[in-house]
């Protein structure tokens, strides 16, 4: 039923996965497919700077981002997105092992609209995407 509502109520999304682990990027990409999220494109970036470069070239509908990454972490990426008019409204869901209240509050204050704690069930990712996008 939830799958049907996602497929019926949501346009095809361009999703950007930002994580320094290629394994985790592959996992999230697979989970997007099996959980029924309709995607037009799934882009991948290994850190915040790569993500900003990609978003500068290709518009995306949703960002799923880790926090701890080399070169540019998720916090700095959120800060730069907030300061960039073309990126300010792109919803970001943080996907992190750090589920401490302090971190969740900080990321929310920096502009993250959703938060998923690893480990997570596939349904949890779909539900959070639906909540953030208002599907």
């Amino acid at each position: 039923m939830a799958n049907e509502s996602m497929e019926a109520g949501c346009r095809e999304l361009s999703v950007l996965i930002v994580d320094d682990s290629p394994l985790m990027r592959s996992f999230i990409r697979r989970i997007l497919t099996v959980s029924g999220v309709r995607t037009k494109d799934v882009l991948e970036a290994g850190d915040g700077q790569d993500a900003l470069d990609l978003m500068d070239k290709s518009p995306v509908d949703l960002v799923l981002s880790d926090i701890n990454m080399p070169r540019m972490n998720g916090s700095e990426m959120l800060k730069r997105m907030s300061a960039t008019p073309s990126m300010r409204t792109i919803p970001v869901i943080v996907v992190s092992t750090d589920a401490t209240r302090q971190r969740m509050d900080t990321m929310q204050q920096m502009g993250a609209q959703g938060y998923i704690r690893k480990p997570f069930q596939p349904e949890a990712l779909r539900c959070e995407i639906e909540r953030v996008l208002g599907v």
Partner: protein, 140 residues
């Protein structure tokens, strides 16, 4: 720990004092900064990592796992387990995790403040170890 394996790697783990990783095991170190700071070690057999990685990536067989993917599985597993345990322990304050690294010198049961040993239903054993210490500020 068992919920991490069950949720994302589709394996069941049971704590066992006798469980130990074998001679071909990979060890991963993840250092963390917070309150407290220290380093985490995870040690498990390559064959176990192949099985867990294949499940994680949705591969049909562990034979499809490359050596690089086996090493990445060890690092990702260590990252999630370490972060999960610290989130439980530090429910109000945040922490920073360093990038996981394959390291034969990662914390083991000698000198660790906390160790736990698990048997997996997919076969093999997995060890986790926490060592607490003041760490230098992360340059990043």
């Amino acid at each position: 720990m068992p919920d991490v394996l069950e949720t994302m790697f589709f394996a069941m783990a049971a704590e066992s004092e006798q469980a130990r990783a074998g001679d071909d095991a990979l060890s991963v170190r993840v250092c963390f900064r917070g309150s407290p700071s220290g380093c985490f070690g995870l040690k498990t057999d390559r064959s176990t990592l192949s099985t867990l990685g294949a499940a994680f990536l949705g591969k049909l067989s562990e034979d499809e796992m490359t050596p690089a993917e086996v090493a990445q599985t060890a690092c990702e597993l260590a990252n999630i387990v370490c972060g999960s345990v610290l989130s439980e322990a530090e429910s109000d304050s945040g922490f920073d995790l360093d990038e996981p690294a394959i390291d034969p010198g990662a914390p083991d049961e000698n000198g660790s403040a906390y160790s736990a040993f698990f048997e997996l239903d997919t076969g093999g054993a997995l060890e986790i170890h926490f060592r607490f210490a003041e760490l230098e500020a992360n340059p990043s």
